[in-house]
Symmetry: C2
Amino acid sequence: MKLTIRKVLKRLQEPITAEMPDSTVDKLITGEPDTIVTGIATAFMPSQSVIEQAIAMGANLLIAHEGLDYSHAGSAADLAADSVYLAKRRLIEQSGLAIYRFHDGIHRYRIDGITLGLIRTLGWEAYVSEHRAAASLLTLPRWTVRNIAKHLKQRLHVPFVRVVGDLDTLCECVGIAVGYRGGGATAIPLFGADGADLVIAGEGPEWETPEYVRDAVRQGKHQALILLGHAASEEPGMAELALTLQACWPGVPVRFLKDAPLFQWV
Amino acid sequence: MKLTIRKVLKRLQEPITAEMPDSTVDKLITGEPDTIVTGIATAFMPSQSVIEQAIAMGANLLIAHEGLDYSHAGSAADLAADSVYLAKRRLIEQSGLAIYRFHDGIHRYRIDGITLGLIRTLGWEAYVSEHRAAASLLTLPRWTVRNIAKHLKQRLHVPFVRVVGDLDTLCECVGIAVGYRGGGATAIPLFGADGADLVIAGEGPEWETPEYVRDAVRQGKHQALILLGHAASEEPGMAELALTLQACWPGVPVRFLKDAPLFQWV
């Protein structure tokens, strides 16, 4: 029996245990559920480059964590006449590539699939003390912020990370908050209520968690924050998803497509 | 006649020409309007370090662009038991320092006072082609992104900026979007509708404007984005405010208090 997009999407939903939000962003943005799958690509962002790579590898289904239109909630109203957006949509239409956005679902696996992918890529699964919905807590062997930053850069292939706090701070209780969970609502309680020495996050507004940690350090507390970048924190989960799907259907080419780092640091 | 806080706040409002939002974040967070002013400090962020500096210089009024509680809208509910926040509040109470948040008002001066402060610090006032409410457009002499980034770092004393795009791109039409206006709603139309070669912004979600510019570059467009960091983009406006107030009341000590750069880049 041929593999349809519908069947792949059904498989993606199976590990979801937490309740989905009323208004989920997850959906088949382009393509039809009954199409026979010739190849599957997964990616953090359905960028122009990723779409070109998906087409080049012969995939006709791209499973992307973020949306097509440079906004979380997917309101593309302002892009109706935007030449960059329209050129990308044209390429997708001409290629017949189906794109499924898979954001809310994978974050609601029994253990958040994006967080778990990051922790596994770091080789830190044995250090996990608690998985929560929006963050995981780890007990590390009192490494310094400096050594942790070095490890993160090596494992995630990022040229730089942004750090608040003293690089010599020893970190035992560490919170991991992927993506935009670096915002104050999620990350600040990891310090204040959970006693984290360090939070490793994707990104978040600069005036929230970074300024909190700056104040904490000024008050003499031994706390630190490492911002990985949104993509670096969430790519491993989408890479792991490709391995899972490949194991389900060994006869279908499945690949994780990685973008180059988003920023140059000048 | 002695200078009261009330009188200083009245002076701050005078240049406001645009309508204030229904629910403004601007307010006297601590202190009383009838207190006699002994010294005035201005700052981007009322951080622990800035508050200590304000007290040390003998100021009893701090005019800060952002809030005390690590959130834009000022809902400090989650900080009720947070030791970092409580220690900062205690220091403020013990010192008697009055703190006025001045955010919405200065952004609504006839020309946005924060944007104008940045443009003046860069020495670019002569290049302005249009001031708008949320951004300004400049016509520069076709400098490269590389040279512009170097100039920004020197003038604003920031160790690094984040760049999307080719460093050799020549920039003539440049948009300036301070603070969090680097988000897609404000910054993407500067490229798409206004034809900017470069947008210089404070910060914004990574999946919005940065991913848009990455796609544009991949499609062969000569566009670039420079993210300065939120503080670096807004400090000059608060520094200029200190000069303005000093000129109003030469007998009162007035100083802009600058924090060290928020992040280390590791």
